[in-house]
Amino acid sequence: MGLISVFISILAIAFALLIGAILMALADINPWEAYSYLLKSSFRNRYGFGETLTRFIPLLFSALSFAVAHKSGFFNVGAEGQLLMGAVGAVLVGAYLQGLPPVLHITLSILAGILFGAIWAGIAGLLKLAFGSNELINTMMLNYVALLFVEFLIHGPLKPADSYLYVSAEVLPSAKLPNIFPRTPLHLGLIISLVVVAGVFYLIYRTPLGYQMRTVGANIRAASYAGINIVRVTIAALIMTGGLAGMGGAIELLGAQFKVVEGFSSGYGYDGIGVAVMGRYNPVGIVLATLLFAIIRVGTGAMQRGAGVPFPLLNVLQGLIIIFVIASGYLTNKLTEAVVGGRA
């Protein structure tokens, strides 16, 4: 079954690219040239490849964050804000705590990122638990709060006195993640992110807590009838979803950007939603979908510069791919039903 669904997804992407090609042709752009830029930027040279994998990291964390929340019946569209807050937490520890050995410094900085992200998601979660308010709205609104809060910080409290740019202080060398692919920006965060994927899915599918989270997510009534403590499970899910997004922000800071700047995230949190949905919330799917998105992210720049594809059209292309892959999911389900047989 797995193979068929991968095959259908690839077919769906091909269809989306085909429609994208037609649209480009209509706009008097040579689609083959444009697509060759898309692929070349990620695969033709070493730097592009490393760059793509670097983009892959924060995207993977935010996709995981959304997937975990989704599995637990919580709609967290606030990864963007949680990621920013995670970066804030990490920069506080990474830039201001001095004299620590690297391993400890990195660990503490990442933990601070997790903590900040979890708190940020926790605010929306507690509002939901206490007042039943809609987490979709709350997490979304908190994104703007986080964005503006970060702006405030880099215009004031966190701005180094000697800097004329609006940025935070840079993390200390002892908190920086080491490069793992010389002459590219790729850092240790890649390995960490892959370990975290494995860990998260182990937790979800192989531990009682994960089982209970999935039960609450799939059928909250059955969960309460079975005596599952819904408040406890929801809080655990919140800590995880916020913590993962926050961790993504921390690692992006410690490995790639080193400073919190305006536009630090540039939509990783939102793209993560599309990635998680496209990856059908399963580990392999999410990793593949993240890779695809990272390629597109890196490639669109080249398409714009090289082939003159207008930016809105690139957004359309990205949207087409998401829609087709999601729609193909339904197709796969129908096919499965037809082959295995429906309900008796």
Partner: protein, 510 residues
């Protein structure tokens, strides 16, 4: 005298994904008869009628109405051809009056004015003709379920129905209301209305119909005249084998009190402080089945939620195994030995997306041997589920298929297996056989009696009076959130029925 064929189905086939719902059904309905369609759930009775009414389309076969081929079956066309259908769930708007509901969708002769008075006269003519008495100015939400059904029937007649189809009409009624309905149908029939009556209840079918067609697994097994058949033959035709009428029950061995409710009340503060439960006191002891009978929505759901710890009572006290559990959580009660088979197996008892195996550990997932250290033990769980599937005869291709794919009976077996394989001392069971076929019903009933014999105390809440009478040692009747009567297996159905309708209150002693 040869009967005039009013309606006939020829070789009707209907296929739903993966299931043949109707397989070459041939059926003739005579003008002016009451024709019952008898069969178990899923036999295809409703599907056949929904095809006639135009809610589905057949994949093969033809329908003839009054000798002519009836094509383009849509609800609108059905009404034009004098076919009226009363669904199990009424299609009425609660905050409209009876009159407004009946004329919904009708055009006034002088549009755009809505001439209620004109319609009122027209409806009166129809009601008069058929001898139906309904106050047209009442709001639908204020009238009883039985009355709502009458409104639906009047609505169909007003639209010119010569043929009335009733889909399981008594499932929402008390025994008394059912009798009233039968009398009404009888009157309509005498005035020339042809009636198709869908039911799985033998008594009703034997009481009201002229001829009976039995459907089983999408096939028409037989059409028989009432005068030439009996209960026994019908039940055999319906199920395809002999059925037990009464259960052999061992003499009850009552032990200690397990569950005691003292003056439990529940007030709904969100809804004008309505009293949902009123000073309910009861007790259940070891080795006993106490049945709570009543028409749906008289507080059974709330009572079950309170006993299982899902909801807290406004006042009163609950003890279980001698401990005060008024404020205990569901989790604590389960740990103490409560098992719960909830009314809605698809939404409360199971997680449909989960596999059969995953559903067997809903309550015990964190316990040994299912969890060791921090990890779920997949092989242990699979083995446990496989044993459970074998022991409780769950028909499933494997324990890894989603429980959604199982039939209702097999889903219920998964729940029963799960609940019975724990160390249960108190069993709360709500509507355990709702929507199941006869074979599965027998199975569930036997399991409940087995539990009783093992000394487990069982509280059975069900709207199926037959079920409550067959299984219970004592019967309590609930009406509008109050226990209004107590009965035992010797009390007659009609007497319990009166209590269920709230017209016979007696003082209840514990």
């Amino acid at each position: 005298m040869p009967e005039e064929i009013y309606l006939s189905f020829r070789d009707i086939r209907k296929i739903f994904p993966g299931v043949v719902a109707l397989d070459g059904v041939n059926l003739d309905v005579y003008r002016g008869e009451i024709h019952a369609l008898l069969g178990e759930n899923g036999a295809g009775k409703s599907t056949l009628m929904n095809i006639l009414y135009g809610l589905y389309h057949q994949d093969g076969g033809e329908i003839f109405l009054k000798g002519e081929k009836y094509e383009h079956n849509t609800p609108k066309n059905a009404i034009l051809h004098g076919i009226g259908m009363i669904h199990q769930h009424f299609m009425l708007i609660p905050n409209f009056t009876v009159l407004e509901n009946i004329i919904l969708g009708q055009t006034s002769p002088n549009p755009p004015k809505m001439e209620k008075e004109y319609f009122r006269k027209e409806i009166f003519k129809v009601a008069d003709k058929f001898g139906i008495k309904i106050d047209l100015d009442l709001l639908v939400e204020e009238v009883s379920v039985g009355m709502q059904q009458k409104i639906e029937i009047l609505k169909a007649l007003y639209k010119g129905a010569e043929l009335l189809i009733l889909d399981e009409p008594t499932s929402v009624l008390t025994p008394q209301e059912s009798q009233e309905l039968f009398k009404m149908l009888d009157d309509l029939n005498k005035k020339g209305t042809t009636i198709i009556f869908i039911s799985h209840k033998l008594n009703e079918v034997m009481q009201i119909s002229d001829r009976i067609s039995v459907l089983r697994d999408g096939e028409l097994i037989a059409t028989v005249s009432k005068s030439e058949t009996d209960h026994h033959e019908l039940s055999k035709l319906m199920v395809g084998r002999e059925v037990e009428e009464e259960y052999q029950k061992e003499e009850a061995k009552y032990g200690e009190d397990v569950l005691i409710l003292e003056k439990i009340s529940l007030i709904d503060h969100h809804n004008h402080d309505r009293r949902l439960l009123k000073e309910i006191s009861l007790k259940v002891c070891e080795g006993e089945i106490v049945g709570i009978a009543g028409v749906d929505e008289n507080g059974q759901k709330e009572l079950a939620e309170i006993i299982s710890g899902l909801r807290k009572p406004s006042s009163g006290k609950i003890s279980m195994f001698g401990r005060d559990v008024t404020h205990a959580t569901t989790h604590q009660l389960i740990e103490m030995g409560m098992s719960y088979i909830p009314a809605d197996r698809r939404n409360e008892g199971l997680v449909l997306e989960f596999s059969v195996a995953e559903n067997t550990i809903l309550e015990t997932n964190y316990q040994k041997p299912f969890t060791k250290g921090i990890s779920l033990q997949k092989s242990v769980i699979t083995k446990f589920a496989q044993d459970l599937v074998r022991e409780y005869d769950v028909r499933t291709p494997s324990v890894n298929v989603p429980v959604r794919n199982l039939s209702g009976g097999n889903q219920q077996k998964v729940i029963i297996g799960r609940e019975f394989s724990k160390k249960t001392r108190f069993l709360l069971v709500v509507q355990p056989t709702w929507g199941l076929d006869v074979g599965a019903i027998e199975y569930v009933h036997h399991k409940l009696l087995e539990a009783r014999e093992k000394g487990i105390s069982v509280l059975l809440i069900s709207t199926d009076l037959e079920e409550v009478r067959k299984l219970s040692d004592r019967i309590l009747v609930i009406y509008e959130g109050e226990i209004v009567g107590q009965a035992d297996t010797r009390t007659s159905v009609s007497e319990i029925g009166l209590m269920m309708a709230g017209s016979k209150k007696q003082t209840v002693s514990l």
